[in-house]
Symmetry: C2
Subunit: 415 residues, 2 copies
């Protein structure tokens, strides 16, 4: 299956692009029609790499907007946890579809997810054609009787093969303050045995760090490192509160940091020193976190706030330049995952979006990279291609009506 | 002329709304068709107050994205000022239309503007039907020979009547470090004589404050107050660096602060302590500033960053709650301007937007106020009504093609 894209703008010049299976095969000013099975006319659209959202809890779109501006624990205890406890698999499926639709419409084609009933999220991906790193979250410290059952569930989830090549099953531990040492070690072994990624919240709040030091004598980073959880396949969400030594360990181990600046500000967790980490050469990607602490799943907002927050935190107007922020949104996570993506070049994976230049937010076209970080929003995204297949065409998603309607029906009874 | 809006969602319940001339006359579960000249079907749309952008330089959309991440003075000297010097009236007109289109599409119906060739911006408003507070900016310290000419220009601009009732001509002074005492006093007298608003940048950077203290022995706020420029008709943009006494003076004088959190972070000016100001009872509205330091003109992004920045700056998760942020975006500036707006009630001015709930970003519908601050973007705005007249209908603006095309043609030769 090959697709010929006609006259799309690449670096503000119109080109033809030939997609063969899931790769960008050829880019040229003109490519003969004979080479392709399908033609996509793209005049007036610009092509950009698609985004990879490296930390989220996709079904939490269901809890978007509830209990705003409350003290953190009152919000969790009164608004979030009681509702999460009652969630069913079907509800997770409905919410996951809504989240994936929202991500596609904001140009995101891959998300690294951590929640419950994740087979339902995989079912949603199967239908909608995104990419996902999917894991059922390990958490047992609040109820130690659950450790054994959790182990069985995790082993069952990771051992069951997934036929969808765009899904990678991963292992997720919630955090050092919610997961027992026993379950952390079990998770590490399971991830190693299945050669997959390990996903964990780390050093999100100062309290997490102080409590861990009090309990173990070590920072959360050193504690995880002692247990052997920090490897080139580990994804660390947040990392707001790392000392110098923690930063060096994470750099040496080759872990990926998923920076979630909006969530960190909204929940008053603190501001991650992005400028420092980038200068040190740490691998930093971006994540939206769940929609209940953001409250969107848009990598456009995340890039903008990442740049603003980095300049504010470092008091340096030159911090977090456009090119660095863009890399965090696609190229860095792609490289970490061993994917040749995050750039529109021959041989790269066909994960890309078209931006409709018939939109004020894309102008002046000469500075589209800057607009991608600071101006664009979902109204600009017209087409999204994942792994060589268009999942959004001319702003239309075939399941949009059905997905929004079923979500609406769910929320009418849920609240 | 009366318009009957059928079954629009108000606080998540469908109602009919009758607009008579420029006011909301009646809100009821059912209003007979006989009462109206025109019917607007609004099933599946929610009504919200429109936004008032209290500080911008609209034509700067033309310079959006140029010279990102540079040191402030290198950016101004190499990228901005040389291009501003060559601007023509026709270019200002083309850029103003583009900015107004962008504002309408993000739900903003009023903007408080300060730039050059502002008759051209008024011409754009005449065509497009927004509201504007419009002023030609006074600035003479870099070239004292200009003071006299500037006085003549300002007097001419303010004396020339404007037939458009949605335009208020105002007086603008750039800042204490760019305007001579002579011109500041002249501006004050001119504003008083014409009973209009005075618009000025104040305490945007720490350097501005320190330099003013060195030169005059007073903070910029006390200096302006000594000259008599602080009145209930004064709009102060930025106000990042106010001490306690400055804050008290501004509160006592009844000035409006136009808070521009995105610009302040992007240019590394600092973070205005919004939480402190709100607790003290200062009048604070929002402004996007110009598109070259934002880089959008969206009040949605501005509200989101205002909330995030306030929580981050005050280290308080309860700071800048949704209701306060929304007020800053419409009710507070409306009250300051003596307009009965910023709320959807009988008797209020018909300045409102419809949000299309057929959009993931608006769900769960139960928490639409929160989504307005944290999730919505331009893709959600379907209709915009200014002063009883729809200027956007079902996402269509009659001049959209023409405006974007002429802007595109301009930028091709401009850069």
């Amino acid at each position: 299956m090959s697709i010929l894209i006609r006259q799309v703008l690449l670096n503000n010049k119109p080109v033809d692009i030939l997609i063969n299976k899931n790769k960008i095969e050829k880019i040229a000013s003109h490519i003969p029609t004979a080479l392709s099975d399908e033609i996509v006319q793209a005049e007036g659209k610009a092509i950009l790499p698609a985004f990879y959202n490296m930390h989220t809890h996709s079904p939490m779109v269901l809890l978007r907007g509830i209990g705003e501006d409350k003290d953190l624990f009152s919000w969790l205890q009164n608004d979030i946890w009681p509702r999460e406890e009652k969630l069913t698999g079907e509800q997770i499926y409905i919410a996951s579809r809504m989240a994936i639709l929202e991500m596609i419409k904001t140009g995101t084609v891959l998300f690294n997810d951590m929640y419950f009933f994740m087979d339902e999220t995989i079912r949603a991906i199967d239908e909608m054609g995104a990419r996902g790193l999917i894991s059922c979250v390990a958490m047992d410290l609040f109820d130690p009787k659950k450790t054994l059952q959790k182990k069985k569930d995790m082993a069952h989830f990771i051992q069951t093969p997934c036929s969808n090549k765009q899904v990678i099953k991963t292992i997720a531990c919630h955090a050092v303050y919610t997961v027992s040492e026993e379950l952390l070690l079990f998770s590490k072994d399971l991830a190693q045995k299945h050669n997959t990624y390990l996903h964990i919240h780390l050093a999100e709040t100062e309290k997490e760090v102080l409590d861990c030091i009090e309990k173990t004598g070590l920072t959360p980073t050193k504690y995880l490192d002692k247990l052997g959880l920090l490897t080139p396949k580990t994804i660390l969400a947040h990392c707001v509160w790392l000392n110098d030594e923690d930063q060096n360990i994470i750099k040496e181990r080759g872990c990926l940091i998923a920076h979630c600046p909006i969530s960190n500000l909204k929940l008053n967790s603190g501001q991650m020193p992005l400028n420092t980490y980038l200068k040190k050469g740490l691998k930093v990607a971006l994540g939206t976190d769940g929609a209940s602490s953001n409250n969107a799943l848009s990598m456009f907002s995340e890039m903008k706030v990442a740049a603003l927050s980095a300049k504010g935190e470092s008091h340096d107007i030159t911090a977090a330049p456009v090119s660095s922020i863009l890399k965090m949104a696609h190229q860095t996570p792609a490289e970490f995952l061993g994917l040749n993506a995050g750039k529109i070049i021959e041989g790269a994976l066909a994960d890309f979006i078209f931006v409709d230049t018939h939109n004020t937010l894309t102008h002046p076209l000469q500075f589209l990279d800057s607009h991608c970080v600071y101006s664009l929003d979902s109204s600009c995204v017209s087409d999204v291609c994942v792994n060589g297949r268009f999942v959004l065409k001319n702003k239309n998603h075939p399941l949009e009506n059905e997905i929004i309607d079923s979500f609406f029906t769910l929320t009418e009874s849920f609240f």
